[in-house]
Amino acid sequence: MDNNSQYLQMFFDESAEYLQQLNENVLLLEENPQDEEIINSVFRAAHSVKGMSATMGFTRLTDLTHKMENILSKVRNKEMQINEKLIDVLFAGLDYIKDLVDDIKNNGEELTDINNYLIRLENVLLNKDNDDDIQENTNSKDKFADVSDEEEIIEDFEKILGLSKEEESDLLDSMNVEDLLYNIKVVLDDNCLLKNVRGYMVLKKAQELGFLVKSSPSQSEIEDEDFDLSIYIIIVSTLDKETIISEFQDIIDVKEVKIHTRDVKNKVDIATESVNKANDFTSSDDISNNDHVTPTNDISNNNDLRSDDDNFEENISKVNSEIKESAKTDKEQIIESDINKKTEKKKAKKLSNVQVSPTVRVDIKKLDNLMNMVGELLINKTRLAGLNVDNDVYQDIILQLDRVTTDLHHIVMQIRMVPIGGIFNRFPRMVRDLSKELNKDIDLLIEGADTELDRSIIDELADPLMHIIRNAIDHGIEIPELREKNGKAKKGNILLNAYQKGSEIVIEVEDDGAGLDKEKIIEKAISRGIISYDDANEMDEKDIYNLVFHPGFSTSEKVTDISGRGVGMDVVKRVVESLDGQIFIESEKGIGTRFIISLPLTLAITQALMVKINNEVYAIPLNTISESHLISPKEILQVRGQDVMVLRDSTIPLVECARKLNLDIEYGTYKEKEEVPVVIINSGEKQIGLIVDELLNQQEIVIKSLGNYLLNIKNISGATIVGDGEVALILDVRNIA
C-alpha cells in the first residue's frame, strides 16, 4: 500500500462525511421507507464509499460496501421491503465501515473481521431473492437486460436523461421505420483506471452504433472526469439489443450494460399530439376517444391525463408489469410539466451528492495560525492607536487600520465557524440504537442545528454531548410501562437545542424523564464521602444537582454499559470548562431534566474588562460579568463573617481578588478606601462581587494559553498581550468563590 498521505487524508475526510450522510439517511429511511429520494441518496453514498475504497485498494471495505450496495439496489428496485431488520443490518454495516476506516487510520490496514457480517448480508440477499438476480455476479459479461433491469433503466433515465417533448418529437420525425430508440446504461468497473478515456470510448462506440441523441455525462463532463461510473446514453439505431450490448461489453473496463427500447409507439401519440397541438382547437371538455384532440392552452395536464386514459385502454390486455410501467411513465409525465427543468434539477442534485462542492478544505492548524496573526495585528493596532500622534494623516491611517483589522478578524472568525448540526447529526442513530437496547421508546428532537460555533469548540463538544444524551437515555427516560403507569406518553422525548444568546452559544439537552432524585444524590454523595450530613443540610437544589459532576459519581442503581463506564459527568464538566464554558442542571422530579451548556462563540478573541490588582493588569472576560460598581465601604455588610453587599434586593457575597490569587500583600485594605471597585460576576448560577484595586477600560483581547508548562493554574485561564506589549493574565472567575 503506497498511498500518498494526502489522498489518504482525503479518503478519511470524505468517508467520514459519507458515513455521516449514510447514518442520517438510513435513519430517515426507517421513518420514510417509501421515499425514493432518500433511497437514492443512501445508494449513492454507499456507492461513493465503495468507489473510494476500491480506488485506495481497501479490499474489505470494497467487499462490504459492494454487498451493501446490492441490497440497496434491491430496495431501490422495490424487490426488497424496508423493515426494521433491514435497517438494523444496514446500521451494522455502517458500524463495520467505521471500524474498518478506523483500522486504516490507526494501523494502516484493515483489521476488523467482516466475514460474519458478509454472510449475514448474503442471507438477507438470498432470503428475499425471489425473482431476477441483481448483478450479484459482476463479472458476467453476457448479461442480457431483464425485466428488473428494464424497470431500473427506465427509472434512471427519467431521472437523469429525460427528453423534452420537443426533442422527442424532433427525433421521431427524423427516425426511419426500421430505427429503434434505445436507452442504454453502461456501468464502468469500480477499479477502472482512466475513467475519462473509457467514458470517451463508450460515447465513441455509441456514435458508431447509431445516432447518439443524448448522453449523461455529456462529452465535456466525461473529459473532466466529472461523473460516477454510470454513463446513460440515448441512441437511435437499427441494430438489435444483443448486438449493442456485446459491442459495449467489448470495451475494456465496462462492467455491465443495460438496455431498454424506448416505447416509441406511445411517444408517437404524444408526438403527434404535440405536432397537432398548434392547429387543433377543440375544447378541453371533449374527452372522447379521440387520439388527436388536444386543447390549446392546456399544455400538459388535461392532455396527459387523457393520454393516460388512452394508454390504459390500450394496455388493458397487456401484462401487469407493463401496465405498471406505462402508468409510471405517464404519471411521471403528469408530474413533469417540464422535463427539462426537472432533469436539470436532478443533475444539480446528483452533482451535489458527488464530491463536487465549491469549498476548500483547510487544516484547522492553518486557521489557528491565521487567528494568531490576526490577534497580533489587533494588538499592534491597539499599540499604534495608543501613541496618539497629533497628525491628521496618522489619525486617518489609524482609522483605516482599525476598520481593516476588525473586518479581517470577523472574516477569520466566520471561516472558523461551522454549524453545530455537524455533531448533532451523530446522535439520532445513537439514540435509536440505545433506546432499542434498553427497550425504551425515545424520540430525539433537534433544534437549532444551524447555530454556528468555532470549529475547535465543536470538535471538543461531541463527547460531552454524547455523554449527556446517553445519560438521558439511560437514567432519564423511563421504560414505557413505567411512563404509562405515571400517566406519561409511552414515548419519551429528548430535545437537543442550540441557540445564540448574545456573545454566547447555549446548548441544551432536555429529557422528559424521571428527573434527578435529590435524596438519592445526597445519599450517594455521603456514601462516597463527597459531602457530610451537615453539608447536605446546607445545600440548595443547585448544589445538590452539581454533585453529579463529582468524579466517579453515578446515580444508576446498576452500572450499565451505557453511561456508567467510569467516564462520568465530571469529565463533561471539565471539557466544558476547558472550553471556557459553563454547565448547569435544571430538573424536576417526574417531569424531566435539562442540561444547559453555555459557551463563548470563539476561543480566540473576546471582550474583556481590564482591572488592576496589586499593580498588575488582569482581564476579566465580559461574558462572565453582569455589571461593575464603585461602592462605599459603608455599603459593605457582614453576614456570618462574610462581607456582602446588597444590590437590588439580592445579597451578593464579596470576594477579594488578591486573596483568591494568594498575592503576598496585606488583605482587607479595601475597607480603608473611599471607593471600592466591585465587579459583579456570574459564577455558576450565583452572583459574586469581586473586589479589585481599580477598574480600567474595556477592550478586545486575544486569548492565549499559558502553555503546557503552566497547566491548570488556579483562577487563571490564560493570558493576553496588552497595548504596551506586556502580558496581562485573564482571570478565571467561574469557580473563584
Binding site: N372, I713, A719, V727, L729
Partner: protein
C-alpha cells in the same frame, strides 16, 4: 538584541553545551534545546504558581513562562545582571533566568561524571552529571526532569 545560538557544525560523539552563571557556580544545558538569549523585559507574575516561576513574558506574540533557576536550585544571594535563556522542552518554550551566559563549549559524552550526592544541595534528579575542565566544574542540567518531572504546581 538577541544573540541566537546556532548549532552549525555537528561532530560525532561530541556535543555542545551552553554554560551560564548562577551565583558563583557554572551550569550548562545542551545547546540543541536552547533557542535564544534575551534581556530581561517585564515579567508578569502568575499567581498560584510555585515561587520559582517568575511569571510570563511576551516573546514575539508568544506567552513564555519564565523559571528563576536560582530559586529552583535554592541558590541565595542577589544577582544584578540577569539574562533569560530560552529552551524548548517537550515542544514548550520556557525561559530560564540566569545571571550570565558565559560561553559555548564542545564536550564528549565520556567526560560526564556522575554528580556527587550532597545533602541539602539541589535535587540529584535534575542533573545529568558534571564536567570538569581544569579547575572549573560545570553542572549539566537535565531540563526535562527539572521542568516536567517534578511537581511544579505547588498549591499556595
Amino acid at each position: 538584541m538577541d544573540n541566537t545560538v546556532n548549532d552549525n557544525n555537528v561532530v560525532n560523539s561530541k556535543s555542545q553545551i551552553v554554560i551560564f552563571q548562577l551565583a558563583d557556580e557554572e551550569y550548562a544545558v545542551d545547546i540543541s534545546t536552547s533557542k535564544q538569549i534575551i534581556k530581561l523585559s517585564k515579567v508578569t507574575p502568575v499567581p498560584n504558581t510555585p515561587q520559582f516561576v517568575r511569571g510570563v513574558i511576551n516573546l514575539r506574540g508568544q506567552i513564555v513562562p519564565v523559571v528563576d533557576l536560582r530559586k529552583r536550585f535554592n541558590i541565595t544571594g542577589s544577582n544584578e545582571k540577569e539574562r533569560i535563556i530560552t529552551v524548548e522542552v517537550r515542544d514548550t518554550l520556557i525561559g530560564l533566568v540566569v545571571d550570565n551566559i558565559n560561553e559555548v563549549i564542545w564536550y564528549e559524552e565520556n567526560e560526564i561524571e556522575p554528580a556527587p550526592n550532597i545533602e541539602g544541595e539541589i535535587n540529584q534528579e535534575f542533573l545529568k552529571g558534571l564536567i570538569k575542565r581544569g579547575n572549573r566544574i560545570l553542572v549539566l542540567i537535565d531540563l526535562d526532569k527539572m521542568l516536567f518531572e517534578k511537581i511544579n504546581k505547588i498549591e499556595e
